[in-house]
Symmetry: C2
Subunit: 212 residues, 2 copies
């Protein structure tokens, strides 16, 4: 078993009982996107793969504490501990930990290596396109929200309430994701996914009115 | 207030506390589709509008009894009672009640009037296209199911379980809806919505693999 496989085996354990929107499958999708972008950008693929696999291992701590713990910060600490068991050299560990710590891009945790930028892009890309649409509706179902309300006042609808919708999430967040990409590969994929998402919600609004 | 508006006001009361997938908005979408198809097919628009508005008023009885009561049958009884208050002529009431009773097309309850066929088509159309995609993921979220599993054995995955997905619903049910349309107008809309749904799930599978 190579190092990536060994880390994967350990990482999976952090995802027992995880919710649909940030489960182990999300990690696998982000991993696949990192492969695609990373190869084009000539990234350190071993560091990138390990960072992708470990990027959300702090998630359940954030969920447990209503967001008071940042999963990226916590995940970085957990990853450093875990990686110390594998005899990886210190430089490589630092590189991986930096990716995990900055994949949320909050406060002073800014992705500044190629690999960290790729992981950030891959993670955000998983919230748009067909996957993003599916996740937004799945999440709406999980919190007992509505299917759709195209005429709602987007600014006044509160997230995490019954009046919330996937469409609000799209209007407020998802349609802006493409502007946030940090790599050329990420930008290219984001443009395509964005286009499809626009088409989807246009169609949804038209179907709701009985026009399509 | 005309008769359609009066019936609408009464019908809404049946939808307090209804779930996302068959809520009042579903009724409004079916109503909009009935308008579109009905006008092309020269239907009795007053009967069709009232039938559309009342078609799911028996739904909460079915949900309460784990499906032992058929909502179409129950809805037909409730609609006959409700309509008797409005001084509508007996023939028209029979026409409306027939639509409601047969909109599920089960057993010997077969839609045989133009209006009943249109209502059947409109109701089924709301389960495909962008709306159908949204509803399938929303429902998956409501029952705590997964986002996606393209490699699952479709025949072995049980509905209403955590391993269920919108994709299973699509493979088993939604992709066959277009074959069931009873009117030309319904067929035309179903073809378009079907095409978009195929595109969506193809894209989803490709995105999951990191190809798009």
């Amino acid at each position: 078993m190579d190092i990536v496989e060994q880390v994967t085996k350990r990482a999976k354990e952090f995802f027992a009982d995880s919710k649909g929107s940030h489960d182990w499958e999300h990690t696998l999708r982000v991993y696949n996107l990192c492969l695609r972008i990373g190869e084009k950008e000539n990234a350190d693929m071993e560091a990138l793969k390990i960072a992708a696999i470990l990027h959300d291992i702090g998630r359940k701590h954030q969920d447990k504490c209503n967001g008071e713990i940042c999963h990226a910060e916590k995940g970085a600490i957990l990853a450093r501990e875990l990686l110390s068991e594998f005899g990886i050299e210190a430089n490589k560990i630092n590189k991986i930990v930096h990716c995990i710590e900055t994949h949320r891009f909050r406060g002073n945790r800014i992705p500044n290596s190629k690999e960290a930028k790729i992981l950030f892009d891959a993670d955000k890309l998983d919230s748009i396109g067909a996957v993003g649409i599916g996740r937004a509706f799945l999440f709406a179902g999980e919190i007992g929200a509505k299917l759709h309300n195209k005429d709602a006042d987007i600014d006044k609808t509160k997230p995490y309430t019954k009046e919330d919708t996937a469409y609000r999430e799209y209007m407020v967040k998802l349609k802006k994701v493409k502007e946030r990409m940090l790599t050329d590969g990420g930008k290219h994929i984001a443009e395509e996914r964005h286009k499809f998402m626009v088409e989807f919600f246009d169609r949804l609004n038209n179907e709701v009115d009985g026009n399509l």
